[in-house]
């Protein structure tokens, strides 16, 4: 039986353990590995928030990276040094010329703008089903991409925005990852989350039980977009240079692969997919370089994706990690 107290205790344990691990990484990891771990955290925010729609409701969106791009450009513009703006953005609209926000607020504003856009396009898009929804959201992504390329006064087009202040660090990323996981977990464990899962399993049955399917789809879509937007802001201030190509189909596919290989029906599966992807990518890069077979990583991952769809369609993790650990512990007690 889980009570409020054991829930709180677990949460505190998780936060303390997480903080210690981060402290050790911050202290001892070399610059490159630290950067990888930071990138991994951003991927994890993306996969967990994408899991909210693609895993926990029946909305299979391919537009997640579009929301990420909105957040990235918004946050980058809002924190861009005021004195450098006339040089970098000579044609910037009047309102944006003096609009400056501190980094943490800019992240949230980026997320909110992404969420607002999700809300607006949700009205037409979420009425579609299955395939059609997937392609329409891919369309949204393509529209964002071509706007980024063409709204040159604001986005500098293909040049991209360089010289973004480097505010993002390990702590910011993992703070937001923790927040994303916590909010998702609380949501899934609530009445609303159960309604979402019911919609995923059988939307007609859910509807007949009085669940407002459109409302819950929208809720998942908007919340997923918010965290994707924040992830974009974190990414912009980590890499310090963003251009439209960073938010293309390649990233979209990679995020989908991470989510599905890890397991899109669990939160642990989602972030584990991001971890696995980053680790394998790094482990295989040297092989790629020695053999000269560029594209090998993607080849292996796509084969893995197809194999997972055939043999383990629910992904590697079908159960939440804490549940699995608890079961292993219990099994250990039984044998000893």
């Amino acid at each position: 039986m889980r009570t409020a107290r054991t829930g709180a205790r677990q949460l505190i344990t998780a936060v303390v353990v997480g903080a210690i691990v981060l402290l050790l990484i911050d202290r001892f990891a070399s610059g490159y590995y630290k950067y990888l771990i930071e990138l991994m955290g951003i991927y994890a925010i993306l996969t967990v928030s994408l899991g909210l729609t693609n895993g926990f409701t029946d909305v299979f969106s391919l537009g997640h990276v579009g929301f990420m791009a909105v957040g990235a450009y918004t946050a980058a513009l809002l924190t861009f040094p005021l004195e450098k703006r006339p040089d970098y953005f000579p044609e910037l609209p009047e309102i944006l010329r003096g609009a400056y926000l501190p980094y943490p607020v800019a992240l949230i504003v980026g997320g909110l703008l992404a969420a607002a856009i999700a809300f607006v396009i949700g009205f037409p898009v979420l009425r579609l089903k299955g395939h059609y929804l997937a392609v329409a959201t891919l369309g949204f992504m393509a529209v964002v991409y071509s706007l980024l390329l063409n709204l040159e006064p604001i986005t500098r087009g293909a040049l991209g925005i360089s010289g973004i202040p480097e505010y993002t660090n390990l702590w910011w990323i993992y703070l937001w990852l923790g927040l994303t996981i916590y909010v998702t977990w609380r949501l899934i464990d609530s009445y609303h989350g159960r309604a979402m899962i019911a919609i995923r399993e059988d939307s007609i049955a859910a509807q007949s039980l009085g669940i407002d399917t459109f409302r819950y789809r929208m809720m998942a879509f908007v919340m997923g977009a918010f965290f994707a937007g924040v992830a974009g802001g974190l990414y912009a201030h980590l890499i310090t240079l963003i251009d439209p190509r960073a938010f293309s189909f390649v990233l979209t596919f990679n995020v989908i692969i991470m989510l599905i290989v890890g397991g899109m029906y669990t939160i642990s599966g989602a972030w584990l997919g991001a971890v696995l992807f980053t680790v394998l990518m790094q482990a295989l890069k040297p092989v790629e370089e020695i053999t000269g077979l560029y594209g090998l990583v993607e080849l292996i991952f796509s084969a893995l994706l197809v194999a997972i769809m055939i043999y383990k369609p629910r992904g590697l993790l079908e159960e939440e990690l804490p549940q699995l650990v608890r079961r292993w512990l219990r099994a250990g007690e039984g044998t000893s």
Partner: protein, 297 residues
């Protein structure tokens, strides 16, 4: 500003682009009709087909022989992909096939990248397709005429195939109702094999035309045409042969004319325009211009 010749150029350009979209869209539509699969990998079949052609040429074969051979090899590959990737998923949730086809797309793109390097390759056209006809200011390339004519001929052949032949009728029956057609003694797996062979063969032909039109191919060539072909199929009414051909032409014309008539600074919005058309169509007529309304829950 827009002279008559310029408009004529746009008209021919749209006709050519629309033809290639139409060809791909036919394949997309045939597969979707039977399997309810949005085959993202279909665009990759275009790219692979173009590479097959280059490969046969490099082996010293005649261009006239290389084209049919690349189409045949494309068909074999299409059937093989169905066998290894999609067949194990039959009867499962429809999204799992969509996800798998994304995986197959990435697999093919990177396989070609590894085998043939990521650098773009020059696409050599046979001599008899290289010429240009000029009439004053206006000029048209032979490959453009070839593209338009072969699309129309192929469309006519396919219409006859689906209307008149036993196999074609069986395919339409399977697309209408898979279970009922199986009960009527139609071998569904065989029909699906034929569908993949046909669609991939046409995609390989499109790859030849695409390479010939633009002069080069690289491993990423197929992605956008593949997505556009799906849009065309949806706009026209997925599952309908005439619909997907018309959808292809609508998209071709919309793209070329919007780029050609808008000021040059908006030309980058081209891809965005196709998707806007898709979203508008999905909202006002989700089953497409020529599609029939099917179970909408």
């Amino acid at each position: 500003m827009a002279s008559a010749t310029y408009l004529l150029d746009l008209f021919v350009g749209s006709f050519v682009l629309g033809s290639m979209y139409a060809l791909l869209s036919i394949g997309m539509s045939i597969i979707y009709g039977i399997l309810r699969l949005i085959n993202f990998a279909h665009g990759a079949m275009l790219m692979v087909g173009a590479y097959f052609y280059i490969m046969f040429l490099a082996m010293g074969l005649d261009p006239v022989l290389s084209l049919p051979l690349s189409m045949a090899l494309g068909a074999v590959l299409g059937v093989a992909i169905d066998f290894f990737a999609y067949r194990p998923l039959r009867g499962g949730p429809e999204l799992s096939m969509l996800i798998t086809s994304l995986g197959v797309y990435i697999f093919l793109e990177n396989l070609v990248r590894i085998i043939a390097t990521p650098q773009p390759r020059v696409f050599p056209l046979p001599d008899f397709l290289k010429g240009i006809y000029r009439y004053g200011d206006f000029s048209v390339r032979v490959i453009e005429i070839f593209t338009i004519v072969s699309t129309l001929v192929l469309f006519a052949i396919l219409v006859l195939f689906f209307k008149r032949t036993k196999l074609g009728i069986a395919m339409r029956a399977t697309a209408d109702d898979l279970e009922a057609s199986v009960l009527m003694g139609i071998d569904a797996n065989r029909i699906i094999m034929v569908a993949f062979a046909l669609a991939s063969m046409v995609a390989a032909l499109t790859g030849f035309l695409w390479g010939g039109m633009y002069g080069q191919v690289d491993p990423t060539t197929g992605f956008m045409p593949g997505v556009k072909a799906f849009i065309a199929a949806v706009v026209g009414g997925i599952g309908s042969l005439t619909g997907s051909v018309l959808g292809g032409y609508i998209l071709g014309y919309a793209e070329i004319f919007s780029v050609g008539l808008l000021p040059p600074e908006y030309s980058g919005l081209r891809d965005g325009i196709s998707f806007l058309i898709l979203i508008v169509i999905l909202l006002i007529r989700p089953y497409g211009l020529f599609g029939r309304e099917v179970e909408r829950v």
